[in-house]
Symmetry: C2
């Protein structure tokens, strides 16, 4: 059953069980999806910062982009668990013969790449949402400032958690070019997102 | 219907709707509950840091305490929304006569107090979980370090989000002694939690 179809109570039980999945990757995607959802809420309130047409247009654009981001982050909750399960399955492949060893190594590397792409995209989507947090903070209703603040905190945490999951996989990866490119992107995305988050918080 | 009985998908939709609840308070409690759940997972893994009896005993104690904390945080997801709904209802009370105005003011103040106690307890429970994060980091299986790191990030975010919700209520509160005591506790809890979080991260 899809994690997103489970109840909160059941998902919390699943996170706390000793099974390896769902784990921190899915939890990070969930936190970021909740953050994006709160920004959508503030962008959709009947009241805006000043009641101007400019506010309304900016918030409508932000709401549309946030809906796409939330959709991707929601998908990542399940995708991260599926990708990690493939890594575990690859490590369990037979390794008696040289052929089996070679096929197992290739399968592990391919699975690790999949398990890296999911949290890397969670980082990208969280960063994009944090860019929009500044728009929502600038044009959204002042009474909802604490909701924007919570959204920023959750998106920061989702991005940080996703980054930890990217980095743990890079250590086991044999393709140094790929690992280097991902590491560089992770640093760049995290840096830009931190600046965007600070800007949004300064507007609250 | 209880928020915790809803599916993740439905809860994300509820967070993003323009209805004032559920909002940032419930979202903060959820993030902290997920963080506590991940720490429970690592504490319950068959493998520990060194495989020693000391590890096992420390992790078992942490798991028991975390289960209580997770229970309170899960309850706060619904309690925050219920408390905020009572604030909204109090503001809608009639205010035609002096008696009505006086009763309305008292109802608002009582409701604000309830809406402050819930996130204040989320702060306390998140801080207690962050204290235990250091125990789990010190004694838990090294391969789960990223899960502990994600848990710390989510608990920090839950605590920060809860603090924003405490502070927004204090501004509307007429009982200065109560507001001052809560503000002082919020500063104290947040400071201790930040230190505990830093200590846990240093062990990863």
């Amino acid at each position: 059953m899809s994690l997103t179809e489970q109840s909160i109570r059941d998902l919390l039980t699943a996170f706390s069980s000793a099974d390896p999945t769902p784990g921190g990757g899915s939890a990070s995607a969930l936190a970021a999806a909740v953050g994006a959802s709160l920004l959508m809420m503030v962008a959709g309130l009947p009241k805006s910062r000043t009641g101007s047409d400019e506010d309304r247009a900016a918030l409508a654009r932000a709401a549309g982009a946030l809906a796409d981001i939330r959709h991707r982050l929601t998908g990542a909750i399940d995708a991260d668990t599926a990708a990690y399960d493939r890594v575990v399955a690859a490590y369990k492949r037979p390794k008696a013969s040289a052929e089996e060893q070679s096929a197992r190594t290739a399968a592990i590397q391919e699975a690790l790449r999949g398990a890296t792409e999911v949290p890397l995209d969670v980082m990208r989507q969280s960063a994009a949402a944090l860019d929009l947090a500044a728009v929502v903070a600038a044009h959204g209703h002042r009474a909802a400032a604490s909701d924007v603040g919570v959204a920023v905190a959750l998106l920061r945490a989702g991005l940080r958690g996703a980054r930890l999951n990217v980095e743990i996989n890079l250590g086991s990866m044999s393709d140094a070019d790929y690992a280097g490119a991902v590491a560089a992107e992770a640093v760049r995305v995290a840096g830009a997102a931190s600046t965007a988050a600070d800007e949004a918080e300064a507007l609250l």
